[in-house]
Symmetry: C2
Subunit: 438 residues, 2 copies
């Protein structure tokens, strides 16, 4: 590329939004990327990388194709939460090589962020925030903000500390704007500070953003020292990821397999299916146990899938409601017995109406209301049990510290196949004399 072309490219590249630059970068091949590193400065490349996620790009490979110093400068110019997200995926030796070429303070900050679990407030936070002493006045604060404008992830919120470096207040730039230049920060700041702990789960952090409608939130350690801030863009990602996670678990599959081959897709779906297959085998064994009854009254086989299917559907509904309810209370089950009682009544009502419907339909179809009553009764009981199971199992899992969402729809329907078959054949056995030869 000659100089003329390089200049044109630079201009067109910089006219794009960072996100668009990132999407463009993802389409480049190795040679084209090398050319780009020639033309663009490390901080320009860093701005672009700030918009890319760690699952979109193999950053180890990308950084390795750069000059070592250039790579280090790119990482250093990124917001440090984003840089840390990429560094998580690198070998320790690689990380050390890049950090060695950074100013020591920056390297230490990044190294600090790498210690936190990625699913916690610490894993989300940036240390590129604005902090000020409480005895400054508004004019001094505004002047300082101007200086921070190039490096901080947000300058719209500033965090006020006392002489012990304890977080004592927050102030928005909007509030600075509406106060006299002489006003002292400690007199105008919000002292009722909402913050999260560095080891709080990311879902709890997202909940605070939802409730308070904040754009940034301070993160403190357990001695209430300010450690960093979380910004809303990272929280949107968390909300998206958690939603996809819940959705995946309900279906018993990782739904994010858009780029995988059929073989990879199959191997990610098979473990659940095979596990449930063996659970289903228990149901088959149960039915085999009643084979005598079946051979004498083959009509009973006609309604197996209707009863197991309907109970499974009801159980899936009840499960989804329970998991959602738990996620609203951060997986801490509340009013356990009250909720179970409520779900029992709901199940009974649903079972009663569904059971009566099928009783009438079967009664008319097979000209036998005794058969209809047996099927209806079995369906009512099967639905009630499936409803209870769909509600109880996620609550129990939460109680013993598991993620309740792991109890998937397929799991509940396979389990309810078992209970439904048990209920169905036991009820039918009572009417044995009636069914013989039907």
């Amino acid at each position: 590329l000659d100089e003329q072309h390089s200049k044109q490219f630079r201009k067109r590249f910089l006219d794009m939004h960072f996100y668009e630059q990132g999407q463009f970068f993802l389409t480049l091949n190795h040679e084209q990327r090398l050319q780009l590193y020639q033309i663009m400065a490390p901080d320009e490349v860093g701005d672009m990388f700030d918009t890319l996620e760690d699952d979109q790009i193999d950053m180890s490979k990308i950084l390795a194709e750069m000059d070592l110093k250039y790579a280090s400068d790119v990482l250093n110019s990124m917001y440090d939460d984003n840089a840390a997200d990429f560094l998580e995926h690198l070998d320790k030796s690689e990380v050390d090589r890049y950090l060695a070429l950074m100013p020591r303070a920056d390297a230490n900050q990044l190294r600090g962020l790498l210690h936190y679990d990625t699913q916690t407030a610490g894993g989300l936070m940036t240390t590129d925030y604005v902090v000020m002493r409480q005895d400054l006045n508004v004019k001094e604060a505004l002047d300082l903000l101007r200086k921070f404008a190039h490096t901080a992830e947000t300058i719209y919120y500033l965090y006020v500390i006392d002489d012990d470096n304890d977080l004592v207040g927050t102030l928005s730039l909007r509030e600075l704007f509406t106060h006299n230049e002489k006003a002292i920060l400690s007199t105008i700041m919000t002292s009722n500070v909402i913050s999260v702990f560095v080891d709080d789960d990311q879902e709890a952090v997202a909940q605070v953003f939802r409730d308070y409608q904040f754009v940034a939130l301070p993160v403190v350690d357990h001695a209430h020292k300010l450690m960093g801030i979380v910004t809303v863009d990272d929280v949107i990602e968390v909300i998206d990821d958690e939603a996809q996670d819940d959705y995946s678990k309900l279906a018993g599959v990782d739904v994010d397999e858009s780029k995988s081959t059929p073989l990879k897709a199959a191997s990610s779906r098979l473990p659940w299916l095979i596990t449930l297959l063996f659970l289903g085998m228990i149901t088959a064994t149960l039915i085999a146990h009643f084979e005598d009854l079946l051979s004498q009254a083959s009509i009973l086989a006609v309604f197996i899938s209707l009863i197991t299917g309907t109970a499974g559907n009801a159980g899936t509904q009840s499960l989804a409601v329970a998991v959602r309810r738990l996620s609203l209370t951060n997986n801490k089950p509340q009013h356990l017995w009250g909720l179970l009682l409520k779900e029992l009544v709901t199940g009974l009502v649903i079972g009663l109406i569904t059971g009566m419907t099928i009783m009438i339909v079967v009664g008319i179809w097979k000209h036998s209301f005794v058969l209809g009553a047996v099927i209806g009764l079995a369906m009512m009981a099967a639905i009630t049990v499936a409803n209870l199971a769909g509600s109880l199992i996620p609550m129990l899992m939460a109680k013993i510290g598991f993620d309740p969402a792991v109890a998937s729809g397929p799991f509940i329907s396979t389990l309810s196949d078992l209970t439904s078959v048990l209920i169905y054949f036991n009820i039918a056995s009572l009417f044995m004399g009636f069914f013989k030869g039907m």
Copy 2:
């Protein structure tokens, strides 16, 4: 309440965050609320209402218990997107009464917002934004921002228009801070403006926020005139609502029934269950058609629920993957045939492995590898068909303009019960001679 108490209450109330005020307000009874209106000014109550959602509170009742002028002032002091959300639920006559007491310009702005579908950019946007002419300089812009600081929903982004009122650029307060006071807005603004149309669906709006990591986004009409802005707090709600919606649809139930009675819960779950019950009846009729075969080989009944259950589980997985993939492309199906082929191969691989597993298990259990082969073959075919259905049906629904998420897990498993039974008994019929008397 005497004056002393009122003062104390005011102070404690105003020390709370708006969100906490709102949560407190929700716990008050009618008498307590009347006292609160005595103590707090309309704009203070408005700030609090800005944090409440329209599904948390019956605003028609709340406004009716206020003095008419007070109620009108409360609404007028709220951000107009939030006020409009509440007014949506009121009768036209009520709305007119409150708007009649507002300054005409404010009333018209609110009336304008009420025209937009709540699920679109127009339904999300506020008109409380900052707009400036492109020939101002940075100092003039900062002075203007100061004035807007009390009323605008955000002052961190300002929107630049030309003499025709066309939106020509955006500027962040951060950018203003990093430029010389004399610089003219048109020379420093971002002219590559990302905006959404007023009738764009809220999901598309949320996608732009996710991609570009914006905190606010301008909304324009089709002549590119600026109509309003959407802020990130409203988008977080959209993302939450859409996620809950997808989750609900996958389970065939509205999961947000936390406050409803068992009867209400049952009546919201029953329509799907009864509909699927009739679909399940078709499956039962099919099995009845093979009752002859069943009465001669009751062993076949043992594996009905295993085959239908496993195929249903596979179909649910495939459905969830397809719905998620569609939502990433805004429900516009792409590469239809390629995806179906991929899902066919995935289904075949899953079917083959699951089928072989069950063949071996049944062969050992029942000492008959012919029986095992029949069950295995039926399972393989049933899974492949269920997988294809789980993938094809949401894509077809999207193609004809329906929401693909309506094809729920329960629907796919009930449908695959039907196909599985058909496949199973037809394969078994071929081996009729072998099964007789088993």
